[in-house]
């Protein structure tokens, strides 16, 4: 069986006008024509799976995947109910849905399938499937949009989907059902008067479409938060479908883009865009965020940049920082001879990162948590309820060494100054080999003495911590 992959991606609008009343507005009709063109391209691609990520299906407990092989009902939009009803009967690939659900769990995501008579399939999915797959010839799968999910969770969701696509040799088309700018007019309008809600929204939409037309999907994903702040109503943070679609395309920035239509639907920006995987001339990209392989459980949407300070933070003791799980974080203490670094993770108690005594530096125990985000590379060892999770000891060990390096550099030294290390592992049997391998590639080359101990637990859900004594750089 040949390896599967994405044979095409589409961005399509969510409102029901294109299904029910395209003739009432020339722009709606152009969108409908673009849908029809997209359907033909999908057919011509010989795709055997449609994967829909819908922004109009919100979820709270992780992500939900539709698994009813033949969901049937009549959909009526909450706002545009006067336009009519849309009966539907879809062809869902239940087997793929279950496989994706399992793949999600392997990558640390909360996930479940849904298979219930009468489940209300959302308007975005209904519009996409009615128009892109009018004869139900291609089996489909639909996934929800988690209201709390941030980039890491959404990216990993795409990666787990790709895992299954590749493993099963499927030729998949990825679809995001979404608006660009999503600010609608808040009163009824005559269809002929429809236009993008504001010039600013229109300008942003056109910039997004310029990028997509050049195949620069990853650039749009990287701009997701900025776009959200500029042209989206604020209920759900971030322009997250672009994270998912970028992930489905392996974060490439050199796709071949084609904007089939861009029009207003009751003020919102609706576009039909085709992204072909054939490489185009573009491709240069700038990463400013991690490429996440495993979801470590931190849904920090509520702490997103630009949000008002949380009430938790206001109530907390001044030197502490509230976290969603695990012990509170502290500012490192500052005393005579203390060495602290903004580039190292915050302590979980009242102590400094390091202390200088004579010619030696004594470091507090260093774990793999990341400065700023508190994320754990390789994933945490358990979830918030204490249930064990799969994790990558090599990634954790490497992150510990990186944190040690940062602290030593803050003191004016380097990793080459390390003299003695005491390592703590929470699962010696499972982890010693991986830990030892990373050690050999890093600190092993420096040559400090080492003691490795098995312990029952560490304060945060990590598998490894190191206690370091290093040579202090000479003071001027």
């Amino acid at each position: 069986m040949s390896e599967g992959g994405i044979v095409g991606s589409f961005i399509v609008p969510v409102h029901p006008h294109t299904v029910l009343v395209p003739e009432q507005n020339e722009g709606w009709q152009r969108l409908r024509n673009a849908f029809d063109e997209a359907a033909q391209r999908i057919k011509d691609s010989n795709a055997d799976l449609l994967v829909i990520y819908s922004t109009t299906w919100p979820s709270i407990i992780g992500h939900q995947i539709q698994a009813d092989p033949n969901p049937e009902w009549v959909m009526v939009d909450h706002d545009f109910h006067d336009l009519g009803s849309i009966p539907y009967s879809f062809n869902i690939d239940s087997e793929f849905a279950h496989a994706w659900d399992e793949a999600n769990k392997k990558r640390g995501l909360k996930s479940r399938t849904v298979n219930y008579t009468g489940f209300p399939i959302d308007v975005g999915s209904v519009v996409a499937l009615k128009l892109l797959n009018p004869e139900n010839a291609i089996p489909a799968v639909i996934v929800s949009s988690n209201v709390y999910a941030n980039r890491s969770e959404t990216t990993v969701l795409a990666k787990s989907c790709l895992d299954v696509i590749k493993a099963t040799g499927r030729k998949a088309v990825a679809v995001t059902a979404m608006s660009l700018s999503n600010r609608m007019f808040t009163t009824a309008i005559d269809p002929k008067d429809d236009k993008i809600h504001s010039l600013k929204d229109d300008e942003w939409n056109r910039k997004i479409l310029e990028f997509l037309g050049e195949g620069r999907l990853e650039d749009v994903g990287q701009l997701s938060r900025t776009i959200h702040k500029q042209i989206r109503v604020q209920k759900v943070v971030a322009f997250k479908p672009m994270w998912w679609l970028a992930g489905m395309n392996e974060n490439r920035n050199n796709l071949t883009g084609d904007v089939l239509a861009y029009e207003a639907i009751h003020g919102a920006g609706g576009a039909v865009v085709h992204l072909d995987p054939t490489p185009s001339g573009a491709g240069d990209k700038e990463y400013d965020e991690d490429d996440v392989e495993f979801f470590s459980g931190e849904r920090n949407v509520l702490d997103a940049e630009g949000d008002a300070p949380s009430f938790d933070a206001q109530l907390s003791q001044p030197q502490q920082t509230a976290t969603s799980s695990g012990p509170a974080l502290w500012e490192p203490t500052t005393g005579e001879s203390s060495v602290n670094s903004d580039a190292a993770p915050k302590p979980v108690g009242m102590y400094p990162h390091a202390r200088r005594v004579g010619d030696l530096l004594y470091l507090s125990g260093v774990g793999p948590r990341q400065p700023g985000t508190n994320a754990i590379p390789g994933g945490p060892i358990c979830d918030e309820q204490g249930a064990p999770l799969n994790y990558d000891i090599k990634a954790q060990t490497k992150a510990v060494v990186d944190n040690i390096t940062r602290i030593l550099e803050e003191a004016g030294g380097s990793i080459d100054d390390v003299l003695d290390v005491t390592s703590f592992l929470v699962d010696m049997d499972r982890d010693f080999a991986g830990y030892n391998e990373v050690w050999a590639d890093t600190l092993g080359k420096v040559g400090p003495t080492r003691t490795t101990l098995a312990i029952r637990a560490l304060p945060t859900p990590i598998a490894v911590e190191m206690k370091v004594i290093a040579r202090a750089p000479k003071e001027n």
Binding site: H78, D79, K110, T186, K235, L302, A308, F311
Partner: protein, 327 residues
Amino acid sequence: MFESWVQRVVFGLNADADIAVKRLACNMTQGEIVAGCLAPHPPHLVYAENPPQNEPVAEGGWEQLRWGYERLRDSLKDVDYDAIVLLSPHWQTYVGTHFLGLPNFKSLSVDPVFPNLFRYHYDLNIDVDLTRKIHDKAAEAGLAVKMMENPDFRVDYGTITTGHMFNPGWDKPLVVVSSNRSRDYYSVEVMQEMMIELGRVTREAILESGKKVVVLASNSLSHRHFTTESEIPEDMSKEHITSHAMHLWDMRMIDYIRSGQAQRILDEMPEFTEQAIAESDGGGLSWLLSTLDTPTYPGILHGYGTIIGTGNAIVEWPERNHKEASQ
């Protein structure tokens, strides 16, 4: 307005409910809000009750809240009223405020977020006359409004849950009002301004209708969910508020409720809604307090509890016992 009422009744230009006509004929009394209630809608409550209408079966759970609803029902069991007016944040509309506008809705409601808990067969009646009155008055006041008259429309699970928990016999007609998401578009302040106006016209329409009405705002207080669910959803050992800050906010609001300080709730609504991520963002609580003319008498706290971390209070403002508020 009263004159136009008489004209319409006398000349047969309006086929309003018999009850209203009889009241006018007998003693010309105006309508009355007998109570206003904060009546949250997490589907977990219906799931835990195991009513015949709901498909999933539970081993109980969330008793503090379900007992709270029992106390609320007991409080009103001897009170005569004609209709229930309910605003649900899960009928979310962005193009103004909408109203269910057909006499009956019957279907299956499946919660898109918790389909494992809530698959409820509903059959509810609408007081279309009272609905129309509120709709028309809101339109006159300049609010964007629309009647929902598509028979295929599925009623949202928030309406069904609150409707069931408040009146499981479904023997009173409803007025169902959507949640205009103006907070998402503008700000809590703009949302509140619109909801206070909607509350004012709701009250006016009820008083002019000659009917006795209970008004329900179907929303939680603090609304930060846990993003995981225990294997047994009704495992109460896992249930608690998501954070100390959320608890403090909920208690602050409940303190205002219990001490008759509705105006302070409205005054602090922007901070509460933002910091507690409160479901008051849907406008229900502001609308309710405005409909009750911003009560200065204490609300009765029938129950408080958390559901997947969100804070939920069941509160009754017994306006029938505070006639000065009805004038």
